[in-house]
Protein backbone atom coordinates (compact mmCIF):
# COMPACT_ATOMS: atom_id res chain seq x y z
CA UNK A 1 0.00 0.00 0.00
CA UNK A 2 2.56 2.48 -0.98
CA UNK A 3 5.70 1.60 0.87
CA UNK A 4 7.28 -0.71 -1.66
CA UNK A 5 8.87 2.22 -3.43
CA UNK A 6 12.54 1.89 -2.68
CA UNK A 7 12.58 -1.79 -3.49
CA UNK A 8 10.14 -2.20 -6.32
CA UNK A 9 10.04 0.80 -8.57
CA UNK A 10 12.82 2.38 -10.49
CA UNK A 11 13.70 6.04 -10.47
CA UNK A 12 12.71 6.14 -14.10
CA UNK A 13 9.11 5.32 -13.22
CA UNK A 14 9.18 7.93 -10.52
CA UNK A 15 10.39 10.61 -12.87
CA UNK A 16 8.03 9.50 -15.59
CA UNK A 17 4.98 9.79 -13.36
CA UNK A 18 6.13 13.11 -11.94
CA UNK A 19 6.69 14.51 -15.42
CA UNK A 20 3.24 13.40 -16.52
CA UNK A 21 1.62 15.04 -13.53
CA UNK A 22 3.46 18.24 -14.25
CA UNK A 23 1.78 18.19 -17.66
CA UNK A 24 -1.59 17.49 -16.03
CA UNK A 25 -1.65 13.83 -17.05
CA UNK A 26 -1.80 10.51 -15.24
CA UNK A 27 -0.34 7.12 -16.19
CA UNK A 28 -3.73 5.78 -17.18
CA UNK A 29 -4.94 8.96 -18.85
CA UNK A 30 -7.40 10.01 -16.18
CA UNK A 31 -7.92 13.49 -14.84
CA UNK A 32 -6.55 14.16 -11.37
CA UNK A 33 -10.00 14.17 -9.79
CA UNK A 34 -11.51 11.19 -11.63
CA UNK A 35 -12.25 7.71 -10.35
CA UNK A 36 -11.56 4.69 -12.51
CA UNK A 37 -14.59 2.86 -13.97
CA UNK A 38 -16.62 1.37 -11.14
CA UNK A 39 -18.55 -1.90 -11.34
CA UNK A 40 -20.61 -3.26 -8.49
CA UNK A 41 -21.78 -6.86 -8.49
CA UNK A 42 -24.39 -7.59 -5.85
CA UNK A 43 -24.86 -10.81 -3.91
CA UNK A 44 -22.17 -13.01 -5.49
CA UNK A 45 -22.42 -15.13 -2.31
CA UNK A 46 -26.21 -15.24 -2.26
CA UNK A 47 -26.49 -18.82 -1.03
CA UNK A 48 -24.30 -18.50 2.07
CA UNK A 49 -23.72 -14.89 3.07
CA UNK A 50 -26.47 -12.62 4.35
CA UNK A 51 -25.08 -9.89 2.11
CA UNK A 52 -22.20 -9.58 -0.33
CA UNK A 53 -20.76 -7.42 -3.08
CA UNK A 54 -17.86 -7.41 -5.49
CA UNK A 55 -16.44 -4.00 -6.38
CA UNK A 56 -14.22 -3.53 -9.42
CA UNK A 57 -12.47 -0.21 -9.49
CA UNK A 58 -10.34 -0.31 -12.61
CA UNK A 59 -7.88 -3.15 -12.05
CA UNK A 60 -8.61 -3.43 -8.33
CA UNK A 61 -11.20 -5.97 -7.23
CA UNK A 62 -12.43 -6.70 -3.73
CA UNK A 63 -15.26 -8.79 -2.34
CA UNK A 64 -17.10 -8.07 0.88
CA UNK A 65 -19.35 -10.60 2.57
CA UNK A 66 -21.62 -10.02 5.54
CA UNK A 67 -22.54 -12.64 8.14
CA UNK A 68 -25.18 -11.90 10.75
CA UNK A 69 -24.88 -14.07 13.85
CA UNK A 70 -26.41 -14.04 17.30
CA UNK A 71 -24.10 -13.33 20.22
CA UNK A 72 -23.74 -11.56 23.53
CA UNK A 73 -23.52 -7.77 23.69
CA UNK A 74 -20.57 -5.98 25.27
CA UNK A 75 -21.25 -5.38 28.93
CA UNK A 76 -20.95 -1.59 28.54
CA UNK A 77 -23.55 -1.50 25.74
CA UNK A 78 -26.05 -4.18 26.75
CA UNK A 79 -28.73 -3.09 24.30
CA UNK A 80 -26.57 -2.60 21.21
CA UNK A 81 -25.59 -5.02 18.51
CA UNK A 82 -22.05 -5.38 17.26
CA UNK A 83 -20.67 -4.42 13.85
CA UNK A 84 -17.17 -5.48 12.89
CA UNK A 85 -15.15 -5.05 9.69
CA UNK A 86 -12.08 -7.10 8.87
CA UNK A 87 -9.91 -7.14 5.75
CA UNK A 88 -7.45 -9.60 4.35
CA UNK A 89 -4.74 -8.91 1.77
CA UNK A 90 -5.13 -12.38 0.30
CA UNK A 91 -2.00 -13.44 -1.62
CA UNK A 92 -4.25 -14.37 -4.53
CA UNK A 93 -4.52 -10.64 -5.28
CA UNK A 94 -0.96 -9.54 -5.84
CA UNK A 95 2.62 -10.77 -6.03
CA UNK A 96 3.27 -8.16 -3.33
CA UNK A 97 1.04 -9.79 -0.71
CA UNK A 98 2.43 -12.48 1.53
CA UNK A 99 1.23 -15.54 3.33
CA UNK A 100 1.06 -15.45 7.09
CA UNK A 101 -0.63 -13.48 9.84
CA UNK A 102 -1.83 -9.97 8.96
CA UNK A 103 0.86 -7.32 8.70
CA UNK A 104 0.65 -3.61 9.30
CA UNK A 105 -0.87 -2.81 5.90
CA UNK A 106 -3.70 -5.30 6.33
CA UNK A 107 -4.35 -4.11 9.86
CA UNK A 108 -4.51 -0.49 8.75
CA UNK A 109 -6.86 -1.34 5.87
CA UNK A 110 -9.24 -3.17 8.18
CA UNK A 111 -9.14 -0.51 10.86
CA UNK A 112 -9.65 2.38 8.45
CA UNK A 113 -12.58 0.72 6.67
CA UNK A 114 -14.03 -0.24 10.05
CA UNK A 115 -13.65 3.33 11.27
CA UNK A 116 -15.58 4.57 8.26
CA UNK A 117 -18.53 2.34 9.18
CA UNK A 118 -18.27 2.86 12.92
CA UNK A 119 -17.78 6.62 13.14
CA UNK A 120 -20.56 7.42 10.71
CA UNK A 121 -22.85 5.11 12.71
CA UNK A 122 -23.79 3.50 9.40
CA UNK A 123 -25.79 0.83 11.21
CA UNK A 124 -28.19 1.77 13.99
CA UNK A 125 -26.82 -0.74 16.49
CA UNK A 126 -29.67 -0.14 18.92
CA UNK A 127 -31.94 -1.91 16.44
CA UNK A 128 -29.72 -4.98 16.60
CA UNK A 129 -30.76 -5.95 20.11
CA UNK A 130 -32.77 -9.16 20.57
CA UNK A 131 -32.83 -9.36 24.38
CA UNK A 132 -31.07 -6.65 26.38
CA UNK A 133 -27.84 -7.79 27.94
CA UNK A 134 -28.27 -11.32 26.59
CA UNK A 135 -28.59 -11.60 22.83
CA UNK A 136 -27.86 -9.21 20.00
CA UNK A 137 -27.17 -9.50 16.31
CA UNK A 138 -23.48 -9.46 15.44
CA UNK A 139 -22.71 -8.16 11.97
CA UNK A 140 -19.38 -9.20 10.46
CA UNK A 141 -18.34 -7.58 7.21
CA UNK A 142 -15.20 -9.28 5.90
CA UNK A 143 -13.29 -7.97 2.89
CA UNK A 144 -10.97 -10.00 0.68
CA UNK A 145 -8.77 -8.38 -1.92
CA UNK A 146 -8.92 -10.26 -5.22
CA UNK A 147 -6.95 -7.99 -7.56
CA UNK A 148 -4.70 -5.24 -6.31
CA UNK A 149 -4.02 -2.31 -8.58
CA UNK A 150 -4.10 0.46 -5.99
CA UNK A 151 -6.62 2.19 -3.74
CA UNK A 152 -7.82 -0.74 -1.71
CA UNK A 153 -9.37 1.45 0.94
CA UNK A 154 -11.94 3.08 -1.32
CA UNK A 155 -12.80 -0.15 -3.09
CA UNK A 156 -13.19 -1.93 0.24
CA UNK A 157 -15.31 0.86 1.67
CA UNK A 158 -17.62 0.73 -1.36
CA UNK A 159 -17.87 -3.06 -1.18
CA UNK A 160 -18.65 -3.07 2.53
CA UNK A 161 -21.33 -0.45 2.14
CA UNK A 162 -22.89 -2.23 -0.85
CA UNK A 163 -22.82 -5.54 1.01
CA UNK A 164 -24.41 -4.01 4.11
CA UNK A 165 -27.15 -2.43 1.98
CA UNK A 166 -28.02 -5.78 0.42
CA UNK A 167 -27.94 -7.77 3.64
CA UNK A 168 -31.04 -9.72 4.61
CA UNK A 169 -31.09 -11.94 7.66
CA UNK A 170 -33.43 -14.09 9.69
CA UNK A 171 -35.32 -12.36 12.46
CA UNK A 172 -34.68 -14.20 15.70
CA UNK A 173 -36.64 -14.27 18.93
CA UNK A 174 -36.11 -15.76 22.36
CA UNK A 175 -38.40 -18.67 23.20
CA UNK A 176 -37.86 -20.47 26.49
CA UNK A 177 -34.26 -19.26 26.67
CA UNK A 178 -33.52 -20.56 23.17
CA UNK A 179 -33.06 -18.28 20.20
CA UNK A 180 -35.21 -19.33 17.27
CA UNK A 181 -35.96 -17.90 13.85
CA UNK A 182 -39.33 -16.24 13.41
CA UNK A 183 -39.33 -17.00 9.70
CA UNK A 184 -39.29 -13.31 8.84
CA UNK A 185 -36.39 -11.66 6.98
CA UNK A 186 -34.92 -8.33 8.10
CA UNK A 187 -32.83 -5.70 6.34
CA UNK A 188 -29.98 -4.07 8.24
CA UNK A 189 -30.94 -0.69 9.75
CA UNK A 190 -28.62 1.43 7.60
CA UNK A 191 -29.12 5.00 8.79
CA UNK A 192 -26.12 6.75 7.28
CA UNK A 193 -23.48 5.80 4.73
CA UNK A 194 -19.92 7.06 4.81
CA UNK A 195 -17.83 6.40 1.72
CA UNK A 196 -14.08 6.62 1.94
CA UNK A 197 -12.21 8.68 -0.63
CA UNK A 198 -8.46 8.43 -0.93
CA UNK A 199 -6.16 10.87 -2.61
CA UNK A 200 -2.52 10.36 -3.30
CA UNK A 201 -0.03 13.16 -2.80
CA UNK A 202 2.77 13.03 -5.36
CA UNK A 203 4.97 16.07 -5.04
CA UNK A 204 2.84 19.16 -5.55
CA UNK A 205 -0.04 17.14 -7.00
CA UNK A 206 -3.11 15.53 -5.53
CA UNK A 207 -4.84 12.73 -7.45
CA UNK A 208 -7.83 10.68 -6.43
CA UNK A 209 -8.14 6.89 -6.68
CA UNK A 210 -4.41 6.15 -7.24
CA UNK A 211 -3.35 3.10 -9.23
CA UNK A 212 -0.56 0.90 -7.93
CA UNK A 213 2.13 2.70 -9.92
CA UNK A 214 1.06 5.98 -8.36
CA UNK A 215 1.05 4.44 -4.89
CA UNK A 216 4.62 3.31 -5.47
CA UNK A 217 5.81 6.87 -5.97
CA UNK A 218 3.41 8.78 -3.72
CA UNK A 219 4.60 10.79 -0.74
CA UNK A 220 1.56 9.74 1.23
CA UNK A 221 -2.17 9.25 0.88
CA UNK A 222 -5.08 10.89 2.68
CA UNK A 223 -8.32 9.00 3.16
CA UNK A 224 -11.52 10.87 3.96
CA UNK A 225 -14.84 9.26 4.91
CA UNK A 226 -17.78 11.44 3.91
CA UNK A 227 -21.29 10.66 5.06
CA UNK A 228 -24.82 11.27 3.74
CA UNK A 229 -24.83 14.83 5.07
CA UNK A 230 -21.40 15.61 3.58
CA UNK A 231 -19.72 15.51 6.96
CA UNK A 232 -16.28 14.04 7.38
CA UNK A 233 -16.48 11.07 9.74
CA UNK A 234 -12.93 9.76 9.47
CA UNK A 235 -9.53 10.86 8.23
CA UNK A 236 -6.40 8.76 7.87
CA UNK A 237 -3.07 9.95 6.57
CA UNK A 238 -0.94 6.95 5.63
CA UNK A 239 0.75 5.14 2.76
CA UNK A 240 4.06 6.81 3.33
CA UNK A 241 5.52 9.37 5.66
CA UNK A 242 5.58 12.39 3.38
CA UNK A 243 4.25 15.53 5.08
CA UNK A 244 1.29 17.46 3.64
CA UNK A 245 0.80 21.23 3.71
CA UNK A 246 -2.59 22.61 4.72
CA UNK A 247 -3.24 23.78 1.17
CA UNK A 248 -3.12 20.23 -0.13
CA UNK A 249 -5.36 18.94 2.63
CA UNK A 250 -7.88 21.61 1.68
CA UNK A 251 -7.61 20.62 -1.98
CA UNK A 252 -7.98 16.93 -1.09
CA UNK A 253 -11.16 17.63 0.84
CA UNK A 254 -12.65 19.50 -2.08
CA UNK A 255 -11.90 16.65 -4.49
CA UNK A 256 -13.37 14.10 -2.11
CA UNK A 257 -16.49 16.15 -1.48
CA UNK A 258 -16.99 16.70 -5.21
CA UNK A 259 -16.64 13.00 -6.00
CA UNK A 260 -18.57 11.60 -3.07
CA UNK A 261 -21.95 12.26 -4.65
CA UNK A 262 -21.25 10.19 -7.75
CA UNK A 263 -19.84 7.26 -5.78
CA UNK A 264 -22.71 7.34 -3.34
CA UNK A 265 -25.15 7.45 -6.23
CA UNK A 266 -23.42 4.55 -7.99
CA UNK A 267 -23.80 2.38 -4.90
CA UNK A 268 -27.39 3.39 -4.27
CA UNK A 269 -28.25 2.84 -7.94
CA UNK A 270 -26.64 -0.58 -8.00
CA UNK A 271 -28.53 -1.63 -4.89
CA UNK A 272 -31.79 -0.19 -6.18
CA UNK A 273 -31.47 -1.98 -9.52
CA UNK A 274 -30.43 -5.15 -7.76
CA UNK A 275 -33.56 -5.20 -5.63
CA UNK A 276 -35.96 -4.49 -8.41
Amino acid sequence: MGDYSAETISHIDRDYIADLLKRGERVDGRKFDMYRPLEIELNPVAAKAEGSAIVRLGGTTVIAGVKVLVGEPYSDNPNEGVVMVTAELAPIASPLFELGPPRENAIELARVVDRGVRESETIDVKQLCIEEGKRVYMVFADVYTLEYDGNLIDASSMAVNAALLTTEYDEMKVEDKDVVATGKKLKLPVQNMAIEHTVSKIGDHIVIDPVLKEEFVQDCRLTMAIDDSEKFTALQKGGGSGPMPMSQIDEAMDIALARSKEIRKAIRDAVASGSE
Partner: protein, 273 residues
Protein backbone atom coordinates in the same frame (compact mmCIF):
# COMPACT_ATOMS: atom_id res chain seq x y z
CA UNK B 1 -28.43 -18.85 10.59
CA UNK B 2 -31.66 -20.61 9.90
CA UNK B 3 -31.65 -24.32 10.69
CA UNK B 4 -31.43 -26.56 7.67
CA UNK B 5 -34.37 -28.83 7.32
CA UNK B 6 -33.60 -32.45 6.78
CA UNK B 7 -35.43 -33.56 3.66
CA UNK B 8 -37.64 -36.63 4.08
CA UNK B 9 -36.01 -38.34 1.14
CA UNK B 10 -32.84 -37.57 -0.74
CA UNK B 11 -34.18 -39.51 -3.70
CA UNK B 12 -37.84 -39.40 -4.59
CA UNK B 13 -40.13 -42.03 -6.01
CA UNK B 14 -39.10 -41.08 -9.54
CA UNK B 15 -35.45 -41.61 -8.67
CA UNK B 16 -34.66 -37.89 -8.77
CA UNK B 17 -32.67 -35.94 -6.21
CA UNK B 18 -33.77 -33.04 -4.00
CA UNK B 19 -32.70 -30.51 -6.62
CA UNK B 20 -34.30 -32.51 -9.42
CA UNK B 21 -31.09 -34.05 -10.78
CA UNK B 22 -30.75 -37.66 -11.81
CA UNK B 23 -28.26 -39.69 -9.69
CA UNK B 24 -25.52 -39.38 -12.33
CA UNK B 25 -26.12 -35.73 -13.14
CA UNK B 26 -23.66 -32.98 -12.39
CA UNK B 27 -24.69 -29.54 -11.16
CA UNK B 28 -24.19 -26.81 -13.79
CA UNK B 29 -20.48 -26.08 -14.18
CA UNK B 30 -18.99 -22.83 -15.43
CA UNK B 31 -15.23 -22.38 -15.67
CA UNK B 32 -13.41 -19.23 -16.78
CA UNK B 33 -9.72 -18.75 -17.42
CA UNK B 34 -7.71 -15.56 -16.90
CA UNK B 35 -10.07 -13.86 -14.48
CA UNK B 36 -7.49 -12.17 -12.22
CA UNK B 37 -5.16 -9.72 -13.91
CA UNK B 38 -2.47 -9.50 -11.20
CA UNK B 39 -1.78 -13.23 -11.22
CA UNK B 40 0.46 -15.08 -13.68
CA UNK B 41 -2.48 -17.42 -14.28
CA UNK B 42 -5.99 -17.68 -12.91
CA UNK B 43 -9.36 -19.34 -13.26
CA UNK B 44 -12.77 -19.39 -11.65
CA UNK B 45 -15.26 -22.18 -11.27
CA UNK B 46 -18.94 -22.17 -10.39
CA UNK B 47 -20.45 -25.57 -9.73
CA UNK B 48 -23.97 -25.21 -8.44
CA UNK B 49 -23.59 -22.66 -5.66
CA UNK B 50 -19.95 -23.45 -5.09
CA UNK B 51 -17.78 -20.55 -6.32
CA UNK B 52 -14.01 -20.62 -6.26
CA UNK B 53 -11.11 -18.55 -7.59
CA UNK B 54 -7.62 -19.88 -8.21
CA UNK B 55 -4.47 -17.87 -8.95
CA UNK B 56 -0.98 -19.03 -9.85
CA UNK B 57 2.19 -17.05 -9.20
CA UNK B 58 5.51 -18.31 -10.40
CA UNK B 59 7.83 -19.97 -10.94
CA UNK B 60 9.45 -17.42 -8.62
CA UNK B 61 11.96 -17.20 -5.81
CA UNK B 62 10.98 -19.14 -2.71
CA UNK B 63 10.73 -17.65 0.77
CA UNK B 64 11.47 -18.98 3.30
CA UNK B 65 14.58 -20.47 1.80
CA UNK B 66 14.68 -23.62 3.90
CA UNK B 67 11.76 -25.04 1.89
CA UNK B 68 13.82 -24.93 -1.31
CA UNK B 69 14.10 -28.18 -3.26
CA UNK B 70 17.25 -28.68 -5.30
CA UNK B 71 15.82 -30.91 -7.99
CA UNK B 72 12.48 -29.26 -8.71
CA UNK B 73 10.17 -26.38 -7.97
CA UNK B 74 8.24 -26.48 -4.73
CA UNK B 75 4.50 -26.60 -5.44
CA UNK B 76 2.86 -24.57 -2.69
CA UNK B 77 -0.91 -24.85 -2.59
CA UNK B 78 -2.93 -22.70 -0.22
CA UNK B 79 -6.64 -23.48 -0.05
CA UNK B 80 -8.57 -20.92 1.97
CA UNK B 81 -12.26 -20.36 2.58
CA UNK B 82 -13.70 -16.88 2.93
CA UNK B 83 -15.24 -16.30 6.34
CA UNK B 84 -18.62 -15.75 4.67
CA UNK B 85 -18.46 -18.77 2.34
CA UNK B 86 -20.15 -21.10 4.84
CA UNK B 87 -23.42 -20.97 6.86
CA UNK B 88 -21.65 -19.97 10.08
CA UNK B 89 -18.84 -17.45 9.89
CA UNK B 90 -15.54 -19.31 9.52
CA UNK B 91 -12.74 -18.02 11.72
CA UNK B 92 -10.24 -15.99 9.68
CA UNK B 93 -7.18 -18.05 10.68
CA UNK B 94 -6.45 -21.13 8.53
CA UNK B 95 -8.02 -24.26 10.00
CA UNK B 96 -6.48 -27.70 10.16
CA UNK B 97 -9.06 -28.80 7.62
CA UNK B 98 -7.89 -26.11 5.18
CA UNK B 99 -4.29 -27.17 5.69
CA UNK B 100 -5.07 -30.84 5.01
CA UNK B 101 -7.06 -29.98 1.89
CA UNK B 102 -4.20 -27.79 0.64
CA UNK B 103 -1.96 -30.84 0.97
CA UNK B 104 -4.21 -33.28 -0.89
CA UNK B 105 -4.80 -30.73 -3.66
CA UNK B 106 -1.03 -30.34 -4.07
CA UNK B 107 -0.70 -34.13 -4.30
CA UNK B 108 -3.47 -34.23 -6.89
CA UNK B 109 -1.86 -31.59 -9.11
CA UNK B 110 1.84 -32.34 -8.78
CA UNK B 111 2.07 -35.40 -11.07
CA UNK B 112 0.70 -33.29 -13.93
CA UNK B 113 3.49 -30.71 -13.69
CA UNK B 114 7.05 -30.65 -14.99
CA UNK B 115 8.36 -29.10 -11.78
CA UNK B 116 11.86 -30.43 -12.45
CA UNK B 117 12.23 -27.66 -15.02
CA UNK B 118 12.40 -25.05 -12.24
CA UNK B 119 14.71 -26.30 -9.50
CA UNK B 120 14.83 -24.15 -6.32
CA UNK B 121 11.81 -22.07 -7.37
CA UNK B 122 8.26 -22.06 -6.05
CA UNK B 123 5.01 -22.32 -7.96
CA UNK B 124 2.29 -20.82 -5.80
CA UNK B 125 -1.32 -21.90 -6.23
CA UNK B 126 -3.69 -19.76 -4.19
CA UNK B 127 -7.27 -20.96 -3.96
CA UNK B 128 -10.00 -18.80 -2.50
CA UNK B 129 -13.37 -20.37 -1.81
CA UNK B 130 -15.92 -17.59 -2.21
CA UNK B 131 -18.98 -19.75 -1.62
CA UNK B 132 -18.90 -23.34 -0.36
CA UNK B 133 -21.83 -25.55 -1.24
CA UNK B 134 -20.19 -28.95 -1.46
CA UNK B 135 -17.39 -30.25 -3.64
CA UNK B 136 -14.95 -27.46 -2.93
CA UNK B 137 -11.77 -29.54 -3.05
CA UNK B 138 -12.68 -31.06 -6.43
CA UNK B 139 -13.77 -27.74 -7.86
CA UNK B 140 -10.50 -26.25 -6.57
CA UNK B 141 -8.48 -28.84 -8.47
CA UNK B 142 -10.42 -28.18 -11.65
CA UNK B 143 -9.83 -24.45 -11.36
CA UNK B 144 -6.22 -24.70 -10.22
CA UNK B 145 -5.38 -26.88 -13.23
CA UNK B 146 -6.69 -24.18 -15.51
CA UNK B 147 -4.83 -21.47 -13.62
CA UNK B 148 -1.58 -23.43 -13.93
CA UNK B 149 -2.10 -23.82 -17.68
CA UNK B 150 -2.96 -20.12 -17.92
CA UNK B 151 0.31 -19.30 -16.15
CA UNK B 152 2.21 -21.31 -18.75
CA UNK B 153 3.52 -23.89 -16.28
CA UNK B 154 4.51 -26.92 -18.37
CA UNK B 155 1.93 -29.67 -17.80
CA UNK B 156 1.41 -33.26 -18.90
CA UNK B 157 -2.35 -32.73 -18.74
CA UNK B 158 -5.09 -30.80 -17.01
CA UNK B 159 -6.29 -32.58 -13.86
CA UNK B 160 -10.04 -33.13 -13.65
CA UNK B 161 -11.74 -33.89 -10.36
CA UNK B 162 -15.22 -34.93 -9.25
CA UNK B 163 -16.82 -36.62 -6.27
CA UNK B 164 -19.21 -39.49 -5.93
CA UNK B 165 -21.50 -39.93 -2.94
CA UNK B 166 -24.22 -42.22 -1.75
CA UNK B 167 -27.72 -41.79 -0.40
CA UNK B 168 -30.36 -44.40 0.26
CA UNK B 169 -27.99 -46.94 -1.19
CA UNK B 170 -27.72 -45.18 -4.54
CA UNK B 171 -24.49 -43.73 -5.88
CA UNK B 172 -24.84 -40.02 -6.64
CA UNK B 173 -22.59 -37.62 -8.50
CA UNK B 174 -21.60 -34.21 -7.17
CA UNK B 175 -23.40 -33.96 -3.83
CA UNK B 176 -25.25 -30.82 -2.83
CA UNK B 177 -25.25 -29.63 0.76
CA UNK B 178 -28.23 -31.64 2.02
CA UNK B 179 -26.95 -34.78 0.28
CA UNK B 180 -23.56 -34.30 1.87
CA UNK B 181 -25.01 -33.73 5.33
CA UNK B 182 -27.65 -36.44 5.35
CA UNK B 183 -26.19 -38.91 2.84
CA UNK B 184 -24.13 -42.03 3.47
CA UNK B 185 -20.73 -41.07 2.22
CA UNK B 186 -18.60 -39.10 -0.19
CA UNK B 187 -15.59 -39.92 -2.37
CA UNK B 188 -13.66 -37.03 -3.94
CA UNK B 189 -11.20 -38.10 -6.58
CA UNK B 190 -9.02 -36.66 -9.34
CA UNK B 191 -7.44 -38.36 -12.33
CA UNK B 192 -4.61 -37.94 -14.81
CA UNK B 193 -5.98 -38.28 -18.34
CA UNK B 194 -5.62 -40.12 -20.59
CA UNK B 195 -4.52 -43.12 -18.43
CA UNK B 196 -6.97 -42.07 -15.74
CA UNK B 197 -4.60 -42.90 -12.91
CA UNK B 198 -5.89 -41.52 -9.66
CA UNK B 199 -4.13 -38.61 -7.95
CA UNK B 200 -6.74 -37.71 -5.32
CA UNK B 201 -8.70 -40.30 -3.39
CA UNK B 202 -10.46 -39.79 -0.11
CA UNK B 203 -13.65 -41.21 1.31
CA UNK B 204 -15.95 -41.06 4.25
CA UNK B 205 -19.18 -42.89 5.04
CA UNK B 206 -19.83 -46.60 4.68
CA UNK B 207 -19.12 -48.55 1.48
CA UNK B 208 -18.55 -52.18 0.64
CA UNK B 209 -15.55 -52.88 -1.55
CA UNK B 210 -17.87 -53.43 -4.51
CA UNK B 211 -19.65 -50.15 -3.95
CA UNK B 212 -16.32 -48.37 -3.63
CA UNK B 213 -14.99 -49.73 -6.89
CA UNK B 214 -18.22 -48.92 -8.66
CA UNK B 215 -18.18 -45.40 -7.23
CA UNK B 216 -14.58 -44.85 -8.25
CA UNK B 217 -15.31 -46.08 -11.78
CA UNK B 218 -18.24 -43.71 -11.91
CA UNK B 219 -15.96 -40.88 -10.78
CA UNK B 220 -13.22 -41.74 -13.27
CA UNK B 221 -15.72 -41.66 -16.10
CA UNK B 222 -17.07 -38.35 -14.88
CA UNK B 223 -13.55 -36.95 -14.74
CA UNK B 224 -13.24 -37.60 -18.48
CA UNK B 225 -16.24 -35.35 -18.99
CA UNK B 226 -14.91 -32.73 -16.62
CA UNK B 227 -11.63 -32.83 -18.54
CA UNK B 228 -13.50 -31.93 -21.72
CA UNK B 229 -15.11 -29.00 -19.95
CA UNK B 230 -11.70 -27.85 -18.78
CA UNK B 231 -10.22 -28.00 -22.24
CA UNK B 232 -13.20 -26.12 -23.61
CA UNK B 233 -12.75 -23.39 -21.01
CA UNK B 234 -9.10 -23.06 -21.88
CA UNK B 235 -9.85 -22.97 -25.57
CA UNK B 236 -12.45 -20.26 -25.12
CA UNK B 237 -10.01 -18.12 -23.16
CA UNK B 238 -7.33 -18.47 -25.80
CA UNK B 239 -9.78 -18.05 -28.63
CA UNK B 240 -10.64 -14.65 -27.22
CA UNK B 241 -7.06 -13.61 -26.73
CA UNK B 242 -5.42 -15.22 -29.71
CA UNK B 243 -8.07 -16.17 -32.25
CA UNK B 244 -5.75 -18.12 -34.46
CA UNK B 245 -3.80 -19.92 -31.79
CA UNK B 246 -5.16 -22.66 -29.60
CA UNK B 247 -2.25 -25.06 -29.84
CA UNK B 248 -1.38 -24.44 -26.22
CA UNK B 249 -3.16 -27.51 -24.90
CA UNK B 250 -3.77 -30.75 -26.70
CA UNK B 251 -5.66 -30.94 -29.93
CA UNK B 252 -8.38 -33.39 -29.17
CA UNK B 253 -11.77 -32.64 -30.51
CA UNK B 254 -13.54 -30.76 -27.79
CA UNK B 255 -16.96 -30.82 -29.33
CA UNK B 256 -17.89 -34.44 -28.99
CA UNK B 257 -19.43 -34.15 -25.57
CA UNK B 258 -20.92 -37.45 -24.74
CA UNK B 259 -24.48 -36.79 -23.84
CA UNK B 260 -24.73 -39.64 -21.43
CA UNK B 261 -21.96 -38.05 -19.45
CA UNK B 262 -23.64 -34.75 -19.09
CA UNK B 263 -25.65 -36.14 -16.23
CA UNK B 264 -22.80 -37.33 -14.21
CA UNK B 265 -19.97 -36.31 -11.87
CA UNK B 266 -20.32 -35.33 -8.25
CA UNK B 267 -18.39 -34.42 -5.22
CA UNK B 268 -18.86 -32.98 -1.86
CA UNK B 269 -16.67 -32.10 1.04
CA UNK B 270 -15.67 -34.57 3.62
CA UNK B 271 -16.61 -33.62 7.13
CA UNK B 272 -16.10 -30.03 8.08
CA UNK B 273 -14.42 -29.35 11.36
Amino acid sequence: MSPDDKPDNLINAEGLRVDGRRPDELRPVEMKVGVLKQADGSASIRQGNTYILAAVYGPRELHPRHLTLNDRAYLRVVYRMATFSVPDRKRPAPSRREREISMVIANALEPALFLEEFPRAVVDVFIQVIQADGGTRCASINAASLALADAGIPMRTLVPSVAVGKAQGTLLLDLGDAEDKYGEGDIPLATLPPQDDITLLQQDGHFTKEELLEAIEMGVTACKYMHELQKEALKQAYAKRRPADDAEVDDEDDDDYEDDLETDLGESDLEEE
